[in-house]
Symmetry: C2
């Protein structure tokens, strides 16, 4: 029973409203939501419909539902949120991620680059990755030129995905990583990440909500100091 033709189901409208409120920061981490009956009344929908929406949020890990207590926001914007896509950690556990910018340039996509995106040009970003100050990886990101004419290196100080969202309105929501072994790249010598020899190697294809591949990146990490972590399900 939909109020308007062609409208999305109410439970999806409700969940998307709540998701926007959470990621926009209007609802803060740890905060308790209003009781389900009150929220449902406010939104003009039935409790069962709202509960279906809350179920979606729970699945995404945005809220925790505790019987007899309430529904609580679970959203750490600076760890799980922005760094959700960063999968390297120190062998001795954890570590706070940071990055030194090393190069930003706009170039023709080289022939040996995997195909992605629609433009023939791409921005190439090279960074030195650190975990708790220790250099652990070299990173080379290729951003399809479709998403930006130019990139101001001054604005790249923080998380790259944060920059994508804030400055380019580009939301990378999915990624496919392929992990293997490869020799470290020429441009990375003398940066103190590796002594020599082989490195852990991560290829990433970053996708938007629509499945478009906007970004391709390669990361070489020192497997003596760091490893790639994947949590499944």
């Amino acid at each position: 029973m939909r109020s308007e033709a062609n409208a999305l189901p109410k439970y999806i409208q409700a969940s998307e409203t709540l998701i926007r409120d959470i990621v926009a920061g209007r609802l803060r981490d740890g905060e308790r939501l209003a009781p389900e009956r009150d929220m449902a009344a406010d939104m003009g929908i039935a409790v069962g419909t709202l509960r279906k929406a809350l179920g979606e949020l729970e699945q995404r890990g945005l809220i925790e539902r505790i019987q007899g207590s309430g529904n609580y926001i679970r959203h750490q914007p600076d760890t799980s949120g922005v760094y959700a896509l960063f999968r390297l950690e120190r062998i001795d556990g954890g570590g706070l991620p940071s990055a030194d910018l090393y190069e930003v340039s706009k170039v023709e996509k080289p022939a040996d680059l995997p195909r992605f995106g629609s433009s023939t040009m791409a921005h190439r970003i090279r960074r030195l990755r650190r975990l708790s100050a220790e250099p652990i990886a070299l990173e080379e990101i290729w951003l399809d030129a479709k998403w930006a004419d130019t990139i101001d290196p001054k604005r790249l100080s923080e998380s790259l995905y944060l920059f994508y969202r804030r400055s380019l309105n580009l939301w990378i929501t999915r990624a496919e990583d392929r992990i293997g072994i490869a020799p470290m790249p020429d441009w990375g010598r003398s940066l103190g990440v590796f002594r020599d020899g082989m490195a852990g190697f991560v290829e990433r294809f970053g996708e938007t909500d629509t499945g478009e591949v906007a970004e391709y990146s390669r990361t070489w990490f020192n497997s003596d100091r760091a490893r790639y972590v994947s949590r499944i399900r």
Copy 2:
């Protein structure tokens, strides 16, 4: 409203009944289930309750629900379902997984093994992993002895996780993988997986629904032939 004290919710009873029927093969792949109203009547529960159970099955990928048509079994016992946790693929893409059993033994957990599970003993399973017949990895699985007194190698022919479920009633639903580089193990020489040198290395902690770590495994894979793939979000 539960018919008996301490009983599981009806929707969980219903979903578990259906799951058993599917994995036991009583319901075959592609088969259409009876209409929801009929099934609910047969099981003596309300349609909404049954639908919640069917939602669980859909999430696990065991059925496909098509509006206006019906609910269909989707269960490829040896591909997507059981191998959902297998993350290696050939560099040239895909490949059908199989395994040769190499050793099964019950041993005291060595001191250098990471801590997991409650028992001091563990079953050690060593396998050669293939993708489309080509050897690509060595695998060493440590299953906490809590879950089985003995393991019959004859029953280990197929998927390990299928064996866990069917024979041990153990459901591995989550895992944490850590990927790096390591030298291949001594016991793996002469199995034709590697020429020499370093291998991709995957450590896995397999968890049950309750978060208990039941299994720890190490996999060494030939990075010339295979890579680890992680799809995010």
